[in-house]
Symmetry: C2
Subunit: 184 residues, 2 copies
């Protein structure tokens, strides 16, 4: 018997929502950039485009609508439903760079992840404010001052980073969370 | 020498922003309710108005604009500026009941508390997700699963609650935070 349920802090962009593919498509459509998957490994869009094109993309993100229609990452819905049965699941997303993203992000979560209570949605900036046992995120920097275990969710930009545990997909997340839960 | 700065999680409504006075004025203007201060002690608006009038107020809150023009609580700006010198200050507000409040709350904070970095603003629901040393809040329920020290900020609705430490104003908060910082 486990006295307390494991508490998970789950990121949105690149973890639940496929912001990467939508940005890649936007750069192709708007500015004509074409990249192979290999060219994108270990790099961020800001390293690959002109400052003007990057500023145009940021201006688009500031309008917020971009976040309303992102695809769900493969397997995320089934995995989150399963995790909600055994863990306390919070969605913790760095929305403060684009404050107008809060409302569309909230609506997107309600639509695609109805099992997540609105009270378990957190919009923040510096994620060191979060108290959880496990953080599932594609950005290593959020693990630095985190008191729990960081699980790096693979995205093209972090493909060359060294971190363990790393999850390449939602099946991996389920296996890693199971192991953390058994080990405590 | 203090190796780590004390981290504070500071609520917005009734602590930084005078939502209480604005709601009281709205009920008087819209529904004709007149209360003395004594009648409001230890009670919430929902206990004092008809269900229809309360629903009308909630519908108004759901539009979000209400939060754009709230008065700042007396002494809050000076106190937060002083605390920012010695502590890590996060603003942690339960915005998820009214998701449309996120954008106006963000703009209000940027206008009245420019010393708070956007990265230190947190919109959440269940505040047990917060990792901080001290939480300054007018709702006792947020202290229940909080790992740090809760400081109850006096508001009419909590006037009859028993909790220590309690701050009746921002001068009290400064004195209490000083004491907590010295004691650790």
């Amino acid at each position: 018997m486990t006295p307390f349920r494991l508490r998970l802090a789950v990121d949105m962009d690149e973890v639940l929502a496929d912001a990467f593919s939508a940005q890649r498509a936007w750069f192709r459509r708007t500015c004509g950039y074409e990249w192979t998957d290999t060219e994108l490994r270990g790099r961020r869009f800001r390293d690959l485009v002109s400052p003007e094109d990057y500023a145009a993309m940021e201006a688009m993100l500031h309008q917020g609508d971009f976040f309303a229609s992102l695809d769900v990452m493969p397997g995320a819905q089934e995995a989150i439903s399963a995790l909600c049965e055994t863990c306390e699941v919070f969605i913790t997303t760095a929305a403060m760079e684009y404050p107008a993203s809060c409302a569309p992000k909230f609506a997107w979560l309600r639509e695609h992840f109805p099992c997540i209570s609105p009270l378990n949605i957190v919009f923040c900036g510096d994620k060191s404010i979060l108290a959880a046992d496990v953080m599932i995120d594609d950005n290593l920097r959020h693990f630095r001052r985190f008191q729990g275990q960081g699980v790096l969710f693979t995205a093209p930009h972090n493909a060359l980073e060294t971190w363990s545990p790393r999850a390449d997909n939602w099946q991996d997340v389920l296996a890693i969370v199971d192991r953390i839960d058994e080990d405590r």
